[in-house]
């Protein structure tokens, strides 16, 4: 069963235009000019119940606008959206009981209250009986290890502690779909890892559908099995992570330390990314040359140390942004 179904979704904003300088400012008063910006252009996709999906794209690609339409905050100009069989624009409050949202850059907790008081507040907002709220607070406090600061005002918590509390607040009513917008932004690697494992655990135990947007490739790689890339308001890629890596990982990064300074031959499929003294970093396109051949060409016998790795996912995504963005924009 599909948790989210989106068909031909569209959203256009009317943005004010102003010419530069004082003259432009006066003109803007006398003859205000606006232009239409198509933020989302005919986006269609579906998300299965219990799926973990990464919905990514560069800034201004339309991902936040899409999320806002999925949660009923913005009204679509065209197309159809259904989240758990509910039209978010028509029945936003009913949908609110079944979805959770975590916006890494926005606070939903009341900063002058303690996490405990906040959780009680959210329990009441979602019409959860008091006893049940208490039980869930206890359960989530243990799981998210909040015991040490559950009675400290939120304003005095570290960012990592606050984000954990934000996630707990959005899980209290056990949402079926959780929208995470940059949940790990600004966190240190240890806390990031713990937040990721908690999200994973939640998905595994409660079959919660996860809709994630993030610029952190680690979040995408470690959490999601499917990825949708949007650019200029359109979907430019909708594929499984496995497929994405298989198709795009035809390039390898070869780092070598030679026994002595050497020059590398100009061979098709081998690009020298960096060469300084005995150290070199090469990119090998395995579609053009086999890795074994490439190693022979760089004289493997003179190599003191070698490291072969895949191109980072970040670079792959960047390439897709660049390539597909041009197509989408045109």
């Amino acid at each position: 069963m599909q948790a989210i179904s989106v068909k031909e979704l569209e959203k256009t904003f009317r943005v004010r235009r102003k010419e530069k300088g004082m003259r432009g400012s006066v003109q803007a008063i006398l003859r205000p000019q606006t232009e239409e910006v198509k933020a989302v252009r005919g986006v269609s996709f579906g998300v299965d119940e219990g799926e973990m999906l990464a919905f990514i794209g560069p800034n201004g690609a339309g991902k936040s606008t899409t999320i806002k339409m999925l949660t009923g905050i913005l009204y679509p100009d065209g197309g159809r959206v259904e989240v758990l069989g509910i039209d978010p624009a028509k029945r936003r409050r009913q949908l609110a009981y079944q979805i959770g949202t975590v916006f890494g850059q926005k606070e939903q907790l009341w900063t002058h209250l303690t996490p405990y008081d906040n959780f009680r507040f959210f329990g009441a907002i979602y019409d959860i009986p008091e006893k049940e709220t208490e039980r869930r607070i206890g359960e989530l406090t243990e799981r998210f290890e909040l015991g040490g600061f559950i009675n400290t005002p939120v304003r005095n918590l570290s960012l990592g502690q606050r984000i954990r509390c934000e996630i707990v607040a959005s899980l209290l009513h056990k949402p079926k779909v959780l929208f995470l917008d940059e949940p790990t932004i600004g966190l240190d690697p240890v806390v990031k890892e713990s937040v990721r494992s908690l999200i994973k655990q939640m998905n595994r135990e409660f079959n919660t559908t996860i809709f994630l947007t993030s610029h952190d490739v680690g979040d995408i790689e470690k959490l999601c099995k499917r990825i949708i890339i949007v650019n200029a308001g359109q979907i430019v890629l909708d594929d499984s992570m496995e497929h994405l890596k298989y198709h795009y990982l035809h390039k390898k990064i070869v780092e070598v330390k030679m026994q002595e300074e050497t020059t590398f031959p100009q061979v098709e499929g081998i690009t020298i990314l960096k060469h300084k003294g005995t150290y070199a970093r090469l990119e090998v396109d395995t579609a053009a040359i086999e890795i074994g051949d490439a190693l022979r060409r760089i004289n493997a016998q003179a190599v003191e140390d070698i490291n072969i790795s895949n191109v980072p996912l970040e670079n792959i995504i960047m390439e897709i942004y660049k390539a597909e963005g041009k197509d989408a924009a045109s």
């Binding site: 913005l74 936003r92 009913q94 959860i128 009513h173 056990k174």
Partner: protein, 292 residues
């Protein structure tokens, strides 16, 4: 009831039986607003000392007006626009008490900032009505401020002016109800003005006009001070129900006037709430949240 059961049914599924109650209302229908109110109260109680710092401004204001009316009322027992000197000073003290005691940011600044900054997006997707959330927050804010200013007003008034002439202690509950209704009507209209931010860049000028109208006509001077021709017009504006009505009842309580003011307040509140929900429903479709 049928709708609630339908909602509850829709939640049974992935998470099993335990989720049955989600979407149903437990306890009183307004329970969640009660909890919002309690949370704001808890938050604001931490700032009681900060609120007390505003007492100085109130005292200076009242002191100036006491001296002003002392100067204007030259003979004892003189009446101006039907008010004795004591009544006139108590009138200003009561309206100023309401002004200072309800001068919280939720209904003006917060709504405007929420809409313009896009923060409304994160408040809208909760299972409550945004405007009622703001109204409840505002009520929680003045619930801490107003009693503090009321105590101060009574102390200053008793020491510097003497008791309110003909004050009826039995009418206190009605007066309190009238003040609460007045503050709520004021909040509803201020929210309506702030909601204009959905359409225009900045609703502050309208907010400023409304505040100043309320301050000059009705807060500093009672309506009767103004020319006879203008008075019917003022009685049709929120001024009559927001500040003039409650203060008038305190300084000159009459049962017939009380019924008239309360009836006007109920009508104004109903119309104001209708307008607030309408403007919100229309405005929310115009919402433009950009960036992140």
């Amino acid at each position: 009831m049928r709708r609630q059961e339908k909602n509850a049914g829709a939640n049974v599924g992935v998470l099993g039986k335990r989720e049955k109650y989600i979407g149903r209302r437990y306890g009183l229908p307004g329970r969640k607003y009660g909890v919002i109110y309690r949370s704001v109260l808890m938050e604001n109680l931490q700032y009681a000392a900060n609120i007390a710092l505003g007492f100085f401004g109130y005292f200076v204001f009242i002191f100036i007006f006491i001296k002003l009316w002392d100067y204007i009322y030259q003979t004892p027992g003189e009446l101006i626009a039907g008010y004795s000197k004591e009544q006139m000073i108590w009138y200003v003290m009561m309206t100023e008490m309401m002004w200072f005691g309800s001068n919280a940011g939720s209904v003006g600044r917060q709504v405007k900032t929420d809409i313009r900054g896009g923060n409304i997006a994160y408040l809208m997707n909760k299972p409550y009505h945004y405007t009622l959330y703001i109204l409840t927050k505002y009520t929680g804010e003045w619930s801490v401020r107003l009693p503090m200013y009321a105590l101060l007003a009574v102390m200053i008034g008793t020491m510097m002016v003497g008791p309110v002439p003909g004050f009826k202690i039995v009418a206190v509950p009605v007066m309190a109800a009238c003040i609460i209704l007045g503050l709520t009507i004021n909040a509803v209209f201020k929210i309506c003005i702030s909601l204009l931010s959905f359409w225009i860049e900045d609703a502050s000028p309208f907010q400023w006009l409304y505040d100043k109208l309320l301050l000059v006509v009705g807060t500093i001077f009672p309506v009767e001070i103004f020319p006879q021709a203008l008075q019917p017009f003022f009685k049709l504006t929120p001024i009559y129900t927001v500040c003039y009505g409650p203060a008038k009842l305190i300084v000159d309580f009459r049962p017939d006037k009380c019924v008239e003011i309360l009836a006007a307040q109920v009508l104004y509140l109903a119309a104001g709430c209708g307008l607030m929900f309408f403007v919100y429903r229309k405005g929310v479709k115009k919402l433009y949240v950009n960036g992140g």
